[in-house]
């Protein structure tokens, strides 16, 4: 009944640091599901899209409008990057909601790697495109000179905390959601074991709560994928237009 047990990583093939673990397996499944979905749904491109094709088109248009809104039209060169991240996080979150599966986004290693990738792209692209002008990001306009050291320090700290908050947000949301689900599902079993027939009647309440929480987790899974994508766009916008 340990609610943390579900996050344990154990090797499937091989041992030690290079083992193929259940986390790696579910990441591979996630990529396979996305590839199959996008390949099969766009194989027979029709002018009037069927159900699968419209689903794929909806994913594309949703991400494209998000990128355009928050990073501008020249942000569209990062569309493949944002779309890959959005689809990976979304599908990994949704697969994790299926009972008896493993949720890869509840591992800080996975989300940390994703957010470090985002921040590295921002820093490398920012310096490659603007050179040292990229550092204007830390110096807002119209600040009195005597306040400047304080403001620059705050801006630098806020920039450095971005990868931390980006990865920890996704990881902690998934972790907390899955723990809560497990705890309430555990109440059902514990009540039934402790009070017998009366316990089964009482267990209706935590069971209903589990169902309601599953619905909430579905919302959180989609919302956190969207939040990850939109924050990626906003950070990329800083690399594209650093001086404001």
């Amino acid at each position: 009944m340990d609610p943390i047990h579900q996050f344990e990583i154990h090797p499937i093939i091989g041992t030690g640091a290079f083992a193929f673990t259940n986390s790696a397996l579910y990441m591979a499944i996630t990529v396979a599901v996305i590839s199959l979905f996008l390949l099969l749904s766009t194989q027979r491109r029709a002018l009037i899209p069927g159900r699968w094709q419209s689903l794929a088109e909806m994913c594309y248009e949703f991400t494209a409008s998000t990128v355009r809104q928050s990073a501008g039209n020249d942000g569209m060169r990062f569309f493949p990057f944002v779309f890959s991240i959005f689809m990976f996080v979304l599908v990994a979150n949704l697969i994790g909601l299926i009972p008896y599966t493993f949720s890869t986004t509840s591992q800080i290693v996975v989300t940390g790697a994703l957010s470090l990738l985002v921040i590295s792209v921002v820093i490398v692209y920012g310096f490659a495109k603007h050179g040292l002008h990229f550092l204007k990001l830390f110096v807002p306009h119209g600040i009195p000179v005597f306040l400047l050291p304080l403001v620059v320090a705050i801006e630098v700290i806020s920039f450095l905390s971005r990868p931390v908050s980006l990865s920890v947000r996704l990881f902690a949301n998934m972790l907390a959601g899955h723990i809560t689900l497990k705890v309430f599902a555990g109440f059902v079993v514990q009540l039934a074991a402790a009070f017998g027939a009366l316990g089964w009647v009482m267990a209706i309440m935590p069971l209903g709560m589990t169902i309601a929480l599953s619905a909430l987790e579905l919302l959180v899974a989609v919302l956190q994928a969207y939040v990850f994508a939109i924050l990626t766009c906003i950070y990329l916008n800083d690399a594209l237009h650093p001086s404001h």
Binding site: T66, V168, R169, N173, V227, I230
Partner: protein, 74 residues
């Protein structure tokens, strides 16, 4: 004794979520108030709503993280 301290610390760390709750509630309340006054402008501000929500929520998540670290990692 050491474990007692862990549990008390983890419980105290969860208090930080109250602040995030106030912040997130404030964001959605203000959004709803604005959206009811000018419904035609509401959809255009959805991305900003989510951004504000995410940034505020991160602080609550940090306190949850401190609680979890105290329970399982210290």
């Amino acid at each position: 004794m050491e474990q007692l301290g862990q549990y008390i610390g983890a419980g105290l760390a969860t208090l930080g979520m109250g602040g995030a709750a106030i912040g997130v509630g404030n964001i959605f309340a203000q959004y709803l108030a604005g959206a009811l006054r000018n419904p035609s402008a509401a959809d255009g501000q959805f991305a900003r709503l989510i951004f504000g929500f995410a940034v505020t929520e991160a602080l609550g998540i940090f306190s949850l993280l401190v609680a979890l670290l105290l329970l399982f990692a210290v």
